[in-house]
Symmetry: C2
């Protein structure tokens, strides 16, 4: 009995996927007359987008990030810069509160690299956001280093993948201690009558002395609605799957076919079970792009219109960056029969680098194929056709939903709201309103907190006390 | 000829001073029925505050911060926690974009410690904010470490003050290189016709190899409206004044009397001149609290009402934290004749720890005195009386304005808008509308960029090109 068969009509969840850059996965599209990508550095763009996503009942906006750059193609940054291909790239944390203020239900999931700042500072930052958004924050845990990001951080070399995950495991221990164990429930009293703000006997110092980190002090914020933000991960190496099996509540994936995804989903669910969790404690979202219209013809015309703006050279530069292979040195018609991943390639991008093993690609095909929608499928068609595809992918791969990228923004999300949402709702596969509560509860959690099987829950000092949050 | 005499009617500038905590400088006041301090962890509070400040034509909101805690009093955190005395304390960066979206002119100046994150990551974060706010960002440069913050960052000891400033000087070099030299003007092309986003020949790699930092890579964002955010500083030691004389465009001060402030202002202006800048290239803002009403009587009644809510014990805990002296071990009536500053006390707080040398204080008096308004003056009176005091302070000390703290928030800023602003405007000492342009221009700068005398300007690679920003 497959999981899909046991749950044939599960609700399809959808995140929106974005990057603070003129290009995310569809290079060249910033030139399209209806595209607003060039406004990526304005709050108007992000607030308008957040409102559109909330209108679509989309679960969350997932903000990708890295401080690496696509400098593999031609051995320099020129192609990436010329096309704005994920460079420049702004800090996604900085726009969140404006989007949070303009919405009430949209989750805000942000990529942040555990190597960029001390765990104490980072834990406080996430707790602040979880307070300000009233519990709508998710964290996509990134542990990797692109080579270019190592240079800007002044480090000598990329740690091995295994050591990176060891560091990340200890980093997680530190932030769990701060989020889960420092302030007991009930520590925050806020009593104007007695003048007691907090009960010092219920606020505890974290004493962490590990191999990589040392922290001694209380967590700097009161418990936020979720304490630990909803945890996402994107790694898909064996070690990455193990890390995700332990820590992740959501996994962002990418793959060109259902066949590629299915074993990744099953493998990571198995890692969760090995870690003492339930296979269903993790939700999987795969990247996809939808191009739709009222009819098949309208959708295809839209796709053909979009294609006039693609820049395959930029797509190839991005693919070179993801894989560590300089495709500028290949003949465009050369078939790519075997691809060896560069070990130093950021693990954050591993999920994007799986080629469909069922066909042979030429360099030129690869570039064109990736010029819209990157490494994920592109569903082109009328709403019923797209909905069929979405259902098939969920039911056959056991994913929980999609991480929705775009060709033209915000048109892609407006089309999703106007055309796809009603179709999925009519099929009983999409929510008709947001669930109440925090992001964790909206995603199906029974409480605003990590569930008791999650390893972060083991850091709670006071399991006998009711784990309800202060208001 | 004194500077004040040469400029007898200079406009009085006003910032508002805030901390993401239930207490800033008036412990206990969160219990006042009209006070909204307990909402410090909500966006509603911060957005409403920002709108009120903009209604007052206040130049900027200055957000204090540190990850240190007041754990000197009694040798533990209990008193600070019980009263919420600057603990908990959230990350002030996280609320900025919501405030920026809700306003058009208010500057947003944020304290960020150069020790908390790599300069590359920090420079990108500030550039992002400068883009998103359309050039309204200021940075209060903090170089210090409270002992408690050293422990949470896993460091063994506090660097000496001199070394901290050496590190900070090199940190500034790195961020200037990223902000000023990496992207030439005109590098960001954004041409939808040709498909060129950026001109790679005008984007340059920073190669910094110093004693404390090593960075190799391009700045990750396009030039923001101000490139370098408006730079503020608060140190007042001799080394701190030298650092400020070099880097600061604004100085936040605090002192209980005009006599205490005057030499600090003159000394730092002299350091600016020594550094090849103009004495007027730095503006000085001293902390002050205003309690006003339509009449003297109304103001005094308000003050007496507020005093019913003060918690002197918390004020003493905060003062213990600032000075490094455990006042819980003193007899309340003991006179304090001489106070030796603890060398490890955070330099960020140096400005707050100057006692008035003209009188002898008892511990009890110190606590009561500090329970409203902290280390700055408290002006209590009808609008004309308060305006007289503000004018006197500016004219006699050569400061440029105030850093307005509060007893009850947002009442203090509403009163300022309704009562003090019209009085100062009638005297020709306060603006009647915001100046156009970026924060730097609103504060009197002739351009959105660092002026040519500022050491950051020396890092521009292309002085012969017009230093105008891309749109």
């Amino acid at each position: 009995m497959t999981s899909a068969a046991s749950n044939p009509k599960k609700e399809i969840r959808v995140n929106a996927f974005a990057l603070h850059s003129p290009v995310h996965h569809s290079p060249g599209m910033w030139r399209h007359p209806r595209d607003r990508s060039l406004e990526y550095n304005t709050l108007d763009y992000w607030v308008d987008l957040a409102k559109t996503l909330e209108r679509s009942l989309i679960d969350s906006l997932f903000m990708a990030d890295s401080i690496g750059v696509n400098d593999v193609h031609g051995g320099n940054l020129d192609t990436a810069l010329r096309h704005g291909a994920q460079v420049p790239k702004q800090d996604p944390l900085m726009s969140l509160s404006a989007m949070a203020y303009a919405t009430r239900n949209l989750g805000l999931c942000v990529t942040s690299n555990a190597n960029h700042e001390p765990p104490y500072v980072f834990a406080r930052r996430m707790s602040t956001l979880d307070h300000l958004t009233r519990g709508r924050i998710g964290w996509n845990i990134v542990t990797g280093f692109a080579k270019s990001s190592v240079k800007v951080l002044g480090k000598d070399q990329v740690a091995s993948r295994d050591e990176r995950y060891d560091i990340a495991d200890e980093y997680m221990d530190v932030v769990y201690k701060l989020w889960e164990s420092s302030w007991e429930n009930g520590a925050s009293v806020r009593d104007t009558a007695t003048g007691v703000f907090a009960d010092p006997s219920k606020v505890h110092r974290v004493d962490h002395e590990g191999k990589y980190f040392r922290v001694q002090g209380i967590h700097m914020t009161e418990p936020s609605p979720q304490r630990t933000p909803v945890l996402f991960q994107a790694g898909s190496s064996a070690r990455g799957q193990r890390f995700a099996g332990h820590h992740a509540e959501g996994i962002y994936l990418s793959g060109p076919s259902k066949k590629v995804l299915t074993p990744v989903v099953a493998g990571t669910r198995a890692e969760a079970v090995k870690a003492g969790r339930d296979a269903r404690d993790i939700q999987f979202f795969t990247m996809a792009t939808i191009i739709t219209g009222r009819t098949t013809r309208e959708a295809r015309d839209k796709y053909e219109d979009y294609r006039r703006y693609v820049t395959p050279e930029a797509a190839l530069a991005m693919f070179s960056g993801w894989t560590g292979i300089d495709f500028s040195t290949y003949d465009p018609d050369e078939p790519i029969r075997y691809m060896q991943l560069d070990a130093g390639t950021s693990s954050a991008l591993e999920g994007f680098t799986r080629l469909d093993p069922e066909r042979i690609w030429t360099v030129r095909e690869l570039a064109l194929h990736n010029a819209i929608g990157g490494r994920g499928p592109v569903f082109i068609g009328a709403p019923n056709e797209v909905a069929d595809a979405l259902e098939d992918w969920v039911d056959e791969t056991d994913i929980d939903g999609f991480n929705l990228s775009y060709a033209v923004t915000p048109e892609a999300y407006e089309d999703f709201a106007d055309l796809i949402v009603p179709e999925l709702q009519a099929r009983g596969r999409y929510k008709t309103r947001y669930a109440p509560g925090t992001l964790r509860e909206k995603l199906g959690g029974r409480s605003s907190l990590l569930n008791e099987r999650h390893p972060g829950a083991a850091f709670r000092r006071y399991p006998s006390r009711p784990l309800r949050n202060t208001p």
